[in-house]
């Protein structure tokens, strides 16, 4: 399956992937509204880690045998058999956060939306052709590819 691969050597630590991830998962799909009206700051599903001068965007690896899916008590987290995308059916999530304890990449964060728990994790923008983080990366530090392209 196609996944997002990070190329740390090209990462400029601009965090635009995080910003565009938030916008892509907003109601309005508008930068201003997402930040100012929808109050979505810090809901990014990709996380830029910094150990300067090194930085790299980390997100879900959509594992073959996802520990988050195995751990989900509600059956909310699933791996789509057709696409391989691991995503949370948010209406089923009860916020036990076993997924957070499960993920070996630390790629899921606890969150909430409208008073309901939501695990913030990459869903590869599954409605779109290309994930927003990749589309917006100004230096092609993130690529959407069939397999690893090296660091």
């Amino acid at each position: 399956m196609k996944k997002v691969y990070a190329r740390p050597a090209y990462c400029m630590n601009c965090h635009l992937c995080e910003v565009n991830c938030i916008v892509a998962h907003s109601q309005s799909h508008d930068l201003f509204r997402a930040y100012k009206r929808e109050n979505l700051r810090d809901t990014n599903r990709v996380l830029v880690e910094e150990r300067l001068p090194l930085s790299v965007a980390v997100q879900c690896r959509h594992c073959d045998d996802p520990a988050c899916v195995a751990g989900c008590i509600a059956g909310a987290m699933i791996k789509d058999p057709a696409t391989g995308i691991v995503y949370c059916q948010e209406e089923k999530c009860v916020g036990c956060w076993t997924c957070i304890a499960s993920c070996p990449f630390g790629a899921i964060r606890p969150g909430e939306k409208n008073g309901r728990p939501v695990p913030y994790k990459c869903d590869l923008c599954r409605e779109e052709d290309e994930p927003a983080c990749v589309a917006s990366c100004p230096n092609r530090a993130l690529v959407f590819a069939e397999r690893g392209v090296g660091a």
């Binding site: 090194l54 690896r61 089923k92 304890a101 499960s102």
Partner: protein, 410 residues
């Protein structure tokens, strides 16, 4: 190929997925003593609270069984396995032949002998029917005593408290959830609960139950304390359901059934997964993974189950706890790293032994907990980045470069 799966919870459903990865055509039959399609057992407390409705209980959509071509016998109990004939006998006198059999019968609540305790005057808290029975009596203002302050008792406590039932927890150990919480963490959690109006009696247990007036129970505790309650919940542990395997040559029972690395129980074609397995922590992620691997092996794969360190995420009344591995460890044989903020009910502790992480306990600050679990399960030496472990920017990049490179390339 005929696959018969006894039990219909998380282990069995994952076994179905595992089988179908390798065999799209074989006949799969699930025998379920319960009258429900599979649900995650921990969901029952959310159901009792009203946060999950009936229609949200199923672990997989109704279409799952069709799509994976599974025949499900609900409300049918398997009563005997005959390995020589390769047949399972059911409680209605019929039998099912199998080529591959999965024992995923789980566990049942352990109820100790207590004076006056009868099936009518206490509740357990393991399955959907338990929660339904409790719902009928859990009315606001009533009083409940829960025997056992482990995960099951604590989740029962939460759902009853959310229904405005007054809850008293009675725990034999010197602290709540002793296998996962060290004394300091248990104190913090207990203070949090007491501030929410929960009574906690430690070092104590129930010695007798007597019917009182107005449908109330009079409970006598070992400490000579007397409690009156409308509801008594017994939640002190589970015992594996191994009856089907009793006295079968080749099978070893050690509370649970002993399995080989491939999850075979010692009989041709017979596998086990989940809480019924000996030495397995009765935890859902472990059952799911075992089910998947058992299923694959039943369908011809040759996979090995590598036991995972126990881990658990437990939330109640707004407090979130993640315990990993040997989370309750104290003492000189370990190096303990800690961050504590009692005002925020935050407690973060890592347990190191020989420069490797062997346990972790995270309360109310649980971000990226899985990174610690990864370090525990992989046995990675943490010396080069030990001082970063509890820092707020701890992440993949804290790991040695070869490891984060390899992780990001997955």
């Amino acid at each position: 190929m005929n696959y018969v799966l006894i039990g219909n919870s998380v282990a069995a459903v994952n076994a179905v997925t595992g089988i179908r990865e390798c065999d799209r055509e074989g006949n799969i039959t699930i025998v379920s003593a319960e009258n429900y399609y599979a649900y995650g057992r921990p969901l029952i407390s959310y159901w009792l609270e009203g946060r999950v409705q009936d229609e949200e209980m199923p672990y997989r959509p109704a279409s799952f069984y069709d799509r994976y071509k599974v025949h499900v016998l609900l409300g049918r109990r398997a009563v005997k396995v005959d390995p020589r004939a390769a047949e399972v006998y059911l409680d209605d006198g019929t039998s099912l032949p199998y080529d591959r059999l999965l024992i995923a019968t789980g566990g049942r609540p352990f109820v100790p002998p207590i004076n006056g305790l009868t099936p009518d005057n206490y509740f357990t808290f393991i399955n959907y029917d338990d929660a339904r029975r409790l719902e009928a009596v859990a009315q606001p203002g009533r009083e409940a005593v829960i025997l056992g302050a482990g995960p099951t008792g604590l989740k029962a406590m939460e759902s009853l408290a959310r229904r405005d039932v007054h809850v008293t927890l009675v725990e034999l150990a010197d602290r709540i959830w002793a296998p996962a919480l060290d004394p300091e963490a248990a104190d913090l959690v207990a203070s949090f609960l007491e501030a929410k109006g929960i009574n906690i009696y430690l070092h104590d247990t129930l010695t007798s139950v007597a019917q009182g007036d107005n449908d109330r129970l009079n409970l006598s505790l070992k400490s000579s304390r007397q409690l009156a309650a409308n509801i008594l919940v017994v939640a002190i542990g589970v015992r594996p359901n191994v009856e089907l395997l009793q006295d079968l040559p080749g099978v070893t029972l050690n509370r649970g059934v002993v399995v080989g690395p491939d999850l075979n129980v010692g009989l041709p074609g017979v596998y086990a997964a989940g809480d019924v397995v000996a030495g397995n922590p009765p935890l859902l992620p472990h059952a799911a993974l075992q089910g998947k691997i058992a299923g694959r092996n039943m369908a011809g794969a040759r996979e090995t189950y590598r036991p995972l360190a126990p881990y658990n995420a437990l939330g109640f009344l707004g407090l979130h706890i993640i315990s990993l591995g040997n989370s309750a460890a104290t003492g000189d044989s370990y190096e303990i790293l800690k961050e504590v903020d009692p005002a925020a009910s935050v407690y973060r502790k890592l347990v190191l032994q020989d420069n490797r992480l062997v346990g972790g306990l995270l309360i109310n600050k649980i971000d990226r907990a899985g990174l610690y679990r990864y370090l525990i399960d992989e046995g990675i030496a943490v010396t080069p980045f030990k001082e970063q472990l509890l820092q707020s920017d701890f992440g993949l990049l804290s790991f040695p470069e070869t490891i984060w490179q390899q992780q990001l390339a997955k």
